[in-house]
Symmetry: C2
Subunit: 118 residues, 2 copies
Amino acid sequence: MPRAATTTDAFNAVAEPRRREILDALAEGERPVNDLVMLLDLAQPQVSKHLRVLREVGLVVSRDEGRQRVYRLNGRPLKTIYEWVSRYERTWNEKFAALDDVLDDLKQKEKPNARKRR
Amino acid sequence: MPRAATTTDAFNAVAEPRRREILDALAEGERPVNDLVMLLDLAQPQVSKHLRVLREVGLVVSRDEGRQRVYRLNGRPLKTIYEWVSRYERTWNEKFAALDDVLDDLKQKEKPNARKRR
DNA sequence: AAATTATATGCCGATATAGGAATATATCAA
DNA sequence: TTGATATATTCCTATATCGGCATATAATTT
């Protein structure tokens, strides 16, 4: 069984750094494909392919404008990632870590035989 | 050129749902491999393999305890993901969106020929 | 109609998966 | 020492990917 398709979800789509760059560029405003090509210094077909993946997971939407196709960001699917990773904020944030220590101490007073984590 | 290795960074390591499950389990406290095997209902070799990937990107560390190997979470590498995805919070958060609208209006008063996004 | 511009798709090749099964290694128990 | 337990590694196979290149499609201009 190979890896899950890049179009499976936002997690997989966004694991590719070029696609994150594309999203970053679109965060400043919608753009036609060729703008992205020049901005990111990528070959046009690769940009179109990356955009296809991003569209399939709903991270971008497009609109035709003459012979250009203008792509626009839709960050909504990133919410899933944000929500998952947010739960871990305490593991690198010192303030949270300090708070956890206090809470651990309180718990230990309640049940003296509980063992401490972290 | 194939996809970037799963061990390239946290983005790639965490794109696999089983590995997220493992991290979720470890978030509650360190555990030996077999605990994870039973908890997640996965085959032992697959768990070991997933743990290897997680270790290579620094998301877990291990400690030997008798014949068990106890794994502990290190969320630090997730910070990169958090920081990247946080920049997009406004794209799904209504409050931010409303704020952006206000800011857009203010900008339009300054330069009347600026065009509006979103 | 022909040429130009903008974008998408198709084909190719190399490669790193993920799971399954078997096996290796290492520690502990009898 | 033998057996049991805990974990890691190896071999297997199928497949999706990424980039490069060529080409298809579609709209616009001359």
